[in-house]
């Protein structure tokens, strides 16, 4: 492991438990590169996760780490951030964790625009329980609970985040690791609720069931199926049919929750608590 990132890992907990070809390790690498480049104090940084493959990431990282209940990571993180605003809080979730059982917490964290950075590992499937469909499994794709093709329509996480009030929304893939690192850094710098969706491959539970080939094939597909919004804008601003936009998708200036709370307290103190 590169010495500059080694300090951020609990080396004794490695190797990780993820399957061969899983993209989760790549996301962790980008996250740690971002934390390292931002120069965040390791003691003042907290990693919160939910339940599922992605959420096991917290155990490998050497910070104060909190592995919570399924879907509730953002609600736990809200308590941490509000109680101790000085802490840098990253929230790691899977697509099922974040958008199904955690969907309510997700939209309300966005609405509050609380200063958290959410990283959603989107592998389009429930991996840890063995391949059941998630709210982000594409229409017609197969899962162990959608053997005849998924009849659900998937969420567009970025549009959901934007609609609910997030002030920084971005998307990358595990193929575009430098972009991912940059997006996480920008998400952290945004004062408000930031969402970075990462398209990642689950060759074991999703790829195999949908005949998507080897892990390398799935990684290549990430390159081929996406288009960077920057180059997209340069070429007239439309997403080609069948392509997924990646890069910074949305940014806005809105009141942030912790800041608003601080202002409220200051105003009350000015009035002598009346």
């Amino acid at each position: 492991m590169l010495p500059e990132i080694e300090q951020y890992f609990r080396i004794e907990k490695l190797p990780h438990m993820w399957c061969p070809g899983c993209g989760n390790g790549i996301i962790l690498h980008s996250l740690i590169n971002a934390i390292s480049a931002l120069g965040l104090n390791q003691d003042q940084t907290t990693i919160v996760s939910g339940i599922g493959c992605a959420s096991r990431a917290a155990g490998y990282l050497d910070f104060d780490t909190l592995h919570t209940t399924h879907g509730r990571a953002l609600a736990f993180a809200t308590g941490i951030k509000l109680a101790k605003p000085a802490l840098n809080v990253f929230v790691l979730m899977g697509d099922g964790d974040c958008t199904a059982i955690g969907g309510n917490h997700f939209i309300h964290a966005a609405r509050r625009n609380i200063n958290l950075t959410a990283i959603v590992f989107n592998n389009n499937i429930y991996g840890m329980t063995g391949g059941q469909y998630s709210p982000m499994t594409p229409h017609n794709k197969r899962a162990t609970t959608a053997s005849f093709g998924n009849i659900d329509r998937p969420f567009d996480l970025a549009e959901l985040a934007k609609g609910a009030g997030a002030t920084y929304v971005a998307r990358a893939t595990t193929y575009h690791t430098k972009l991912l690192t940059n997006l996480i850094m920008e998400g952290y710098k945004n004062k408000g609720f930031s969402v970075v969706e990462v398209i990642t491959a689950c060759p074991t539970a999703y790829g195999r069931y949908n005949k998507l080939g080897s892990p390398a094939d799935m990684l290549k597909a990430q390159r081929e199926n996406t288009v960077n919004v920057k180059s997209m804008l340069a070429n007239g601003g439309t997403v080609p049919a069948g392509k997924i936009p990646i890069g910074e998708l949305y940014r806005a200036e809105e009141p942030e929750y912790i800041e608003e709370y601080r202002k409220l307290v200051e105003a009350l103190q000015m009035k002598g608590g009346k």
Partner: protein, 376 residues
């Protein structure tokens, strides 16, 4: 004692939490607990604490745990249906040993039931609401003043033993107003969680200690440890090693069971010569006290035994009464919940008569007195 005040049970509960050092509250409004949330939404920002109304009860409980991990004294309040929703994360707090207080102002159930009707149907939910075997501490106040003092005590016990502590109130005490003189806040009576004294790299977040309670570091203080709801080793990391799993779960139980004398609380009245003893808790204890007085006027020797800690139950104290071969009458605003614990403890040594009323009205003294006359 402070100046006398006319105070509602829910208000006294909120005041007691503040006196205990409450600095974080997350809640979701639900009748008949709402006044606690409303009062703290006004008071906490002024006192430098944090208040947040979360999107639901699950989130409230989660936020409370997150806040407590940073060192805050944290609480949430709810009623039956909301209490049910909180159970998942109450279990997490028990497993991860995160101190916090959960107030359940009971209402009539099942389901949405009757929102403002008094009931005591959550006795078993308070004990066994979450999945798995876990220890719990539950206190049940009968007066407005006790809403204050017991909430303080709930915080103290939560911090002392690193457990979620439940304040099991009912609509009668929650909404009742009484003239109360609250005790002066004496900082020496405030208990704070044990904190680590070792260097961060030597810190083991879930190491057994003499008291079975591991010291707890705050997030952000440089200890960099892992917290999970999975059964974990002494460093906080998930394990399936049967020896460690068994030992960790046993320790959770030991820290409560080995310190029962610090936790357990009860009150008895006129039990010395009693032939019938009313075993009663919460709002029902008020009607039972009146029933006892009326019975005494009729020449019947009736006493009261009131568990204040419902879980763990004041078992030893009840045993002493059971040995005296008295008759136990157990009035409850449910179809019989605490009575089963009482039957378990007395093991047939004396007769136990349940008195139950579940109709949305508070149980009246006459109703209890009739049963006393019947069995005396």
């Amino acid at each position: 004692m402070t100046e006398p005040r006319l105070l509602q049970g829910n208000e006294a509960c909120a005041e007691g939490a503040l006196a205990a050092g409450l600095s974080f509250y997350a809640g979701y409004p639900i009748t008949p607990s709402t006044e606690i949330t409303e009062l703290l939404s006004r008071k906490l920002p002024m006192l430098g604490g944090k208040f947040i109304q979360m999107e639901d009860e699950l989130a409230s409980m989660a936020a409370v745990i997150g806040a407590s991990l940073t060192g805050a004294k944290a609480m949430t309040a709810t009623s039956g249906p909301g209490f049910t929703l909180k159970q998942e994360n109450i279990g997490f707090a028990a497993m991860a040993e995160v101190p916090c207080v959960i107030v359940d102002v009971q209402r009539l159930g099942p389901s949405t039931g009757v929102a403002t009707a008094p009931a005591q149907g959550d006795v078993m939910q308070a004990r066994w609401g979450t999945h798995g075997d876990h220890p719990i501490i539950v206190y049940s106040p009968a007066t407005v003043k006790e809403c204050y003092t017991l909430t303080m005590r709930a915080f103290n016990m939560a911090e002392r033993f690193r457990v979620p502590v439940i304040m099991l109130m009912d609509e009668v005490v929650g909404h009742m107003r009484e003239r109360v003189e609250l005790p002066e806040i004496d900082q020496t009576t405030i208990i704070n969680r044990p904190t680590p004294s070792v260097e961060p790299h030597r810190y083991k977040a879930y190491q057994d200690t003499e008291t079975h309670v591991p010291p707890m570091a705050c997030f952000g203080d440089g200890y960099r440890y892992h917290v999970t709801g999975l059964i974990h080793d002494e460093n906080g990391f998930a394990t399936e090693n049967p020896e460690i799993v068994g030992r960790q779960l046993q320790r959770l139980h030991n820290k409560i069971n080995h310190h029962r004398s610090e936790i357990v609380d009860w009150e008895s009245l006129n039990t010395d010569d009693a032939e019938v003893i009313l075993v009663t808790f919460g709002g029902t204890a008020r009607a039972a006290t009146k029933a006892m007085r009326l019975a005494r006027q009729e020449g019947m020797k009736v006493g009261i035994f009131r568990p204040i800690s419902i879980w763990p139950f004041p078992e030893e104290q009840l045993n002493l009464l059971a040995d005296k071969k008295v008759k136990l009458v157990v009035p409850e605003m449910n179809f019989g919940q605490l009575v089963h614990e009482i039957e378990r403890i007395v093991r047939g040594r004396c007769p136990v008569y349940p008195v139950n009323q579940v109709n949305g009205e508070l149980i009246k003294p006459d109703y209890i007195l009739n049963k006393v006359r019947e069995v005396y």
